[in-house]
C-alpha cells in the first residue's frame, strides 16, 4: 500500500472509533502497520458510519463498510457510490439522515449499473479522476438489474459493481431471488409439500456470467475474510474498466441464524465448497482460494432455520446429498482442495 493511497487521520472524512479485537478479526494491532487491514487501521475513512438502521449482525452492512472503506483508501477518497434500492439503501438513508461519508446516489432498484455508467461518463467528460462504485443486493443484481449490469460489462464502463449477496429479497421480507440456494425456505418458497423450500434448478451464478463477459476483473469474497475482501477491492480499484465483486453477506433475519453467527456462516459457506472464492481476469480464472478445512455442507445448513426442514424429525432430507454434490462439484471445478500450484485444476473461462 503506497503512501498516496493512505488518508492521514486528520483528513479522513470522519474521526473513527477504534475497534480492538482479537488477532483473527478486525483490529489486528499486533501486526505491522503495513499488514493491517484497512478496517483495522486508524486512518480508515469510515465511509459508512455506525448508527445506521441495519439489523444486528447484518452481513451486508459489514460487507459494505469493508468494501467502501477499502475503495476509499485505494482512490484517496476520490470516489462516488451509486446504490440500488434494497436493504443497504433503506437502512443507510432514512431522510434526512445518511450514513454515507462519500457522494452517494440512489435512483432505482434495477438501474444501479446504468446510473454508475452515467456517473463514469460524466467524470470522463469532465476529465476528473473520480472513480465510481455501484452496489446492490443479489435481487437488484442477479434479477431486476441484470440487463443493466450486462450492458455495463459489455461496454466495459469504468465501474466497480459490488453485489452484496444475501441470497434473497431480504428488504421486502425474505422472498426467493435467483441467488437463493436450492431447498432454502423463503416466504415465496415455503417449507411445505413434497419438495419443501426452493426447488433445484440450474441457478444463476452471476460471477461466472461476469467472467463470460471477458471484463478485466471478477472476484468473489466473503465478510469472513477481511484481508481477502479488502485486497480484492483495492486490486479492483487499481484497474480501469468494468469490474465485478460478489460478496457473500449472511442475513441473520432471512437465514434464520443467530446474529453472532454471521461471520461463522460466511466462513462455513466457503469451507464446505458451496461458495467458491476466486478471481478472474479478462475471462480467465486466475486464482481460487483453497479450503483450509473442508466441512460437510450439513454443518453449514444446520445453523440456519431456512434449512430446518431438511432435518425434520431427526431424519436428513436426501436433498442434503444433492447440496453436497454441488459443493463437491465446486471443489473439483476450482481445485479448492488441490495441493498443487494455485492455478492447477482451475478451469480457464475462455
Amino acid at each position: 500500500m503506497t503512501e498516496a493511497n493512505t488518508l492521514p487521520p486528520d483528513e479522513a472524512p470522519q474521526k473513527l472509533k477504534y475497534y480492538q479485537k482479537g488477532t483473527f478479526t478486525v483490529g489486528n494491532r499486533l501486526v505491522s502497520e503495513d499488514e493491517r487491514a484497512v478496517q483495522a487501521s486508524q486512518d480508515r475513512s469510515n465511509a459508512l458510519t455506525s448508527g445506521h438502521r441495519a439489523c444486528q449482525g447484518c452481513g451486508e452492512a459489514l460487507g459494505a463498510r469493508y468494501a467502501i472503506d477499502a475503495a476509499m483508501r485505494a482512490t484517496g477518497a476520490d470516489l462516488i457510490a451509486v446504490n440500488a434500492t434494497g436493504c443497504l439503501e433503506v437502512f443507510t438513508t432514512p431522510y434526512p439522515e445518511t450514513s454515507w461519508q462519500l457522494p452517494w446516489l440512489h435512483s432505482l432498484f434495477g438501474n444501479a449499473a446504468a446510473v454508475a455508467t452515467g456517473v463514469a461518463a460524466a467524470m470522463r467528460v469532465k476529465k476528473k479522476n473520480t472513480r465510481v462504485v455501484a452496489q446492490g443486493g443479489d435481487g437488484g443484481t442477479t434479477d431486476i438489474g441484470f440487463q443493466c449490469l450486462s450492458g455495463m460489462f459489455e461496454r466495459n464502463d469504468d465501474v466497480l459493481y459490488i453485489c452484496y449477496d444475501n441470497e434473497g429479497y431480504m428488504n421486502t421480507g425474505v422472498q426467493r431471488s435467483s441467488a437463493t440456494p436450492p431447498t432454502a425456505r423463503t416466504a415465496t418458497t415455503p417449507a411445505m409439500g413434497p419438495e419443501p423450500g426452493n426447488v433445484f434448478g440450474t441457478g444463476k451464478f452471476v460471477p461466472k456470467i461476469a467472467v463470460a463477459h471477458n471484463i478485466p476483473y471478477v472476484a468473489t469474497a466473503t465478510v469472513a475474510d477481511l484481508h481477502d475482501l479488502e485486497h480484492k477491492v483495492i486490486k479492483a480499484m487499481s484497474i480501469h474498466g468494468a469490474r465485478y465483486i460478489q460478496i457473500s453477506v449472511p442475513c441473520p433475519l432471512g437465514w434464520g441464524a443467530a446474529s453472532c453467527d454471521t461471520i461463522k456462516l460466511a466462513r462455513l459457506a466457503v469451507e464446505c465448497g458451496l461458495y467458491p472464492i476466486f478471481e478472474a481476469e479478462h475471462g480467465r480464472v486466475t486464482h481460487a482460494r483453497k479450503i483450509r478445512r473442508q466441512v460437510p455442507v450439513r454443518e453449514y445448513l444446520k445453523l440456519q432455520k431456512r434449512f430446518a426442514h431438511l432435518f425434520r424429525d431427526g431424519v436428513d432430507d436426501p436433498r442434503i446429498l444433492h447440496l453436497q454434490a454441488i459443493c463437491d462439484a465446486h471443489i473439483a471445478e476450482y481445485g479448492l482442495l488441490s495441493e498443487d500450484d494455485e492455478l492447477s485444476g482451475v478451469p480457464n473461462g475462455a
Binding site: P13, A77, D78, L79, I80, V82, N83, E89, V90, T93, P94, Y95, P96, E97, T98, W100, Q101, L102, P103, W104, L105, H106, S107, L108, G110, N111, A114, V115, A116, T117, G118, V119, A120, A121, A122, M123, R124, V125, K126, T130, Q147, C148, S150, G151, E154, R155
Partner: protein, 420 residues
C-alpha cells in the same frame, strides 16, 4: 443558417449546439434519425467534449442520463412510444430527483396492436411524471424548443421533454433556420447544477423519504412547474432578442379576435387547423385556433382568458384516455370550470396511430360544432361500419379472434366488394 433539412437532423444540430456532455439513447422509430445525427456529430468531433453511450435499453438510456446529470454533466436522451413506457420508472425518478435532463420524444402510438405512426399517446402516458412537456408545431419550433428546454431545465432543475410528431416532423424535410454556436452560447449558459455528486463536498442524493416530507416534495415539484408558466414566456422573449424569432411561448392564438368557435390542439396538426380556419374565415365563419406549446405546465390562466369569450371550444387531440375521452379536453374542461358563462366544450379524437387528419374532415367537424354540437368524445373519421360489425361479431362468437386483425380482414374484404 437557413437549410433545407430533415427535421431530425435539424434537431440533432440544435442539440449539439447546446453542448450536451453525455448523450445516451436506444434506437426506436421514429426517434432514430435524431440520435444517429448527434452520434455522428460526436464521432466526427464536431460536437466536442461529449460522451455518446450506446445502451441496451431505454430504461438504461435514461438511467445513464440520471447518473451523468447528478454527476454534473449536461445530459440528453431521446425516445418514443414503447421506449418511453419502458423507461417510465426512470422518467418519474429523474423528475423526483430534480435532474435537468432534456429528452426528445418522437411522438408515436403505443401498442398493441403495434403501430409505429404518430399520435400523442406516449406523451400523455407520462404527463403527470413531473417533466415539463413542450410540443412543437414545426421543425423550426422543434429546433428552437430544444435550446429553450436546456435553459428551462437547468434554471428550474427539472427535466424537460420536447415532443415532436413522429414522421410528420422528424422525417420531413423543411426549410429550417439552424442557429449558430454564438447565438446558442449567448442564450444558454454552461450547466451549473444545484445538486451534484462531488467528493469534495459529499452529499447523499435519492434518500428514502417518508410520509413526513413526501407531500412537500411533490408540492415543490408542482410549484416549480407553476414557475415555468412565468419562465417560458420570459425565456421565449430572451430567445427572440438573440435569434430574431420567438421560441414557443406557452401557447399561440390564431385569428381569435371576435371568434365564436375556437379550436384547441397541440403539435403539427395545428398547421392544418390554421388552414381550415383561414378557409372558414373566408366563408364568414367566426372561428379561431389556439395551439398549445406547453402542455405541462398547463397554461390554465391564459386559456381561460382566450376561451372565455368563445361560444364553442373544439379540442382536437391525438390521444385517448380510454374510458374517459380526450385527456387534453379534460384539462381544458378543468381550465374552464368556475367561469361564469363557460363556452360549450366539444372533444374530438383524431389521427390515432398516424391516421391522416384531412382538411375536409376538420372542416366538417368544426361546422358540426357550430351547427349541431355533440357530447362526449367524437372520433374523427371513425369507420363505423367496421366497428359495428366487430362489436356484433364479438357478441355472437366466442373466441372471435383478435380485434385488430379482424378489422384489417374486414377492410380487405370490403375493398374487394364492387363499388356501391
Amino acid at each position: 443558417m437557413l437549410k433545407q433539412i430533415e427535421g431530425s437532423h435539424a434537431m440533432a444540430e440544435a442539440i449539439a449546439l447546446c453542448r450536451p456532455e453525455v448523450i445516451c439513447a436506444y434506437p426506436i422509430t421514429p426517434q432514430t434519425h435524431i440520435v444517429e445525427g448527434v452520434g455522428e456529430l460526436v464521432k466526427t468531433g464536431e460536437l466536442e467534449n461529449c460522451e455518446f453511450i450506446n445502451v441496451e435499453s431505454e430504461f438504461a438510456a435514461l438511467s445513464v442520463a440520471i447518473g451523468a446529470s447528478a454527476a454534473g454533466a449536461r445530459a440528453y436522451t431521446a425516445t418514443a412510444s414503447q421506449g418511453l413506457l419502458f423507461m417510465a420508472e426512470a422518467v418519474y425518478n429523474a423528475a423526483g430527483l430534480g435532474l435537468p435532463i432534456v429528452m426528445t420524444l418522437g411522438n408515436r402510438a403505443i401498442g398493441a396492436p403495434i403501430n409505429i405512426w404518430n399520435d400523442h399517446s406516449d406523451a400523455m402516458s407520462m404527463r403527470d411524471a413531473g417533466w415539463i412537456q413542450l410540443f412543437a408545431e414545426t421543425n423550426q419550433e422543434a429546433v428552437d424548443l430544444h435550446i429553450l428546454a436546456f435553459r428551462l431545465a437547468e434554471e428550474l432543475s427539472m427535466p424537460v421533454m420536447v415532443c415532436v410528431d413522429g414522421f410528420i416532423l422528424t422525417h420531413a424535410f423543411e426549410r429550417v433556420d439552424v442557429p449558430d454556436q454564438a447565438q446558442v452560447d449567448a442564450f444558454l449558459p454552461p450547466y451549473d447544477p444545484v445538486q451534484v455528486l462531488d467528493p469534495e463536498n459529499p452529499a447523499s442524493i435519492g434518500a428514502m423519504v417518508g410520509p413526513e416530507a413526501f407531500t412537500e416534495v411533490r408540492f415543490l415539484a408542482h410549484y416549480k412547474q407553476q414557475q415555468a408558466l412565468r419562465l417560458i414566456p420570459a425565456f421565449s422573449q430572451d430567445f427572440a432578442k438573440i435569434f430574431g424569432r420567438a421560441a414557443g411561448g406557452l401557447l399561440r392564438p390564431y385569428r381569435i379576435e371576435d371568434a365564436e368557435t375556437i379550436v384547441v390542439a397541440m403539435g403539427s396538426v395545428c398547421g392544418t387547423i390554421k388552414d381550415v380556419v383561414d378557409e372558414m374565415r373566408d366563408d364568414g365563419v367566426k372561428i379561431g385556433a389556439v395551439c398549445i406549446v406547453s402542455y405541462r405546465p398547463f397554461p390554465v390562466e391564459e386559456l381561460r382568458q382566450i376561451l372565455s369569450s368563445a361560444k364553442d371550444v373544439v379540442v382536437v387531440e391525438k390521444s385517448i384516455a380510454v374510458g374517459v375521452g380526450g385527456p387534453l379536453a379534460d384539462n381544458i374542461d378543468g381550465a374552464l370550470r368556475n367561469l361564469d358563462k363557460p363556452p360549450k366544450l366539444h372533444s374530438a379524437i383524431a389521427g390515432l396511430g398516424g391516421r391522416p387528419i384531412m382538411r375536409a374532415s376538420l372542416r366538417r367537424l368544426f361546422q358540426m360544432a357550430v351547427e349541431s354540437p355533440w357530447e362526449g368524445a367524437h372520433f374523427l373519421d371513425l369507420n363505423e361500419h367496421v366497428v359495428g360489425r366487430e362489436i356484433h361479431r364479438v357478441r355472437k362468437t366466442r373466441r372471435s379472434g383478435s380485434t385488430a386483425e379482424n378489422i384489417l380482414r374486414q377492410l380487405a374484404m370490403a375493398s374487394e366488394l364492387p363499388p356501391g
